[in-house]
Symmetry: C2
Subunit: 152 residues, 2 copies
């Protein structure tokens, strides 16, 4: 068996990415979301709406990497909590647009500094140039993986 | 409101990490795990056992970033599938050690090349030096986040 087929987790990119992702979610849940009884997925929907404005559920699914059926359930919960609204699109009356309510907007404003502080803490010890390169690489990797490509 | 408190997802490290993590899981589930009816968490347990040898469930939880109670359920499923065994430790008879069975070991050997091919595809366009730096940075970020630290 070739050497290249052994998997050393400490040097395996998907492992390193997952570990950082889980740690970020744990810290942010504990330090930001818990006090507002939000789950990480609810937060992702709110943050995507704050970032990109009102949008269709299918766009929210793409923006958050959450499955469309799950996004739909999350939006229903967020509507009940008064954090988002579902309304008709101005351009097409058959299109449903999800948007932040004033309460939702205020909540994102309150939580964003916690998220940004955690990002700074995560990157401590890295130079601004390294952080920039890291982000460039992560965007590139995402494009590499998400590109529609047939299986061999 | 200070400019630093707005959250642009395209430039927000936790967002970029999560997006890559989800894409990796989706691709690997589809291209590797599905054919063997494994979930990503089952795979993580198997890979950690292949990498670190037999270990206690609490060590498996740390190695996989999966909660201990979930690890326990996963191990039970993997035992039923004949992929891992639960046995007594040689040093302490009260300690339960989880290990790969021969079937489990063979399955990891079969799947590792798929995982490694996906890693290569993810990193395509990055130089070996960049990939190395990326891994160094991800390890550093994990340490920054996982270090026991009191909330302010």
């Amino acid at each position: 068996m070739p050497k290249s087929a052994t998997l050393r987790l400490e040097n395996f990119l998907p492992y390193l990415v997952n570990r950082v992702g889980v740690a970020l979610v744990e810290r942010y849940s504990r330090e930001g979301l818990k006090a507002h009884k939000l789950t990480i997925d609810m937060w992702r929907v709110l943050a995507a709406l704050a970032d990109n404005g009102g949008q269709r559920q299918i766009d929210l699914a793409a923006a958050t990497s959450i499955e469309t059926s799950t996004v739909s359930r999350l939006v229903t919960r967020l509507v009940r909590l008064g954090l988002v609204t579902r309304g008709r699109s101005e351009t097409s009356s058959r299109e449903v647009i999800v948007a932040l309510s004033a309460t939702g907007r205020a909540l994102v404003k309150k939580l964003a500094p916690v998220a940004l502080r955690l990002e700074r803490e995560a990157a401590s010890g890295l130079s601004p140039k390294e952080v920039k390169l890291l982000k460039v690489m992560l965007r590139r990797i995402y494009r590499n993986l998400a590109a529609p490509k047939r299986r061999r």
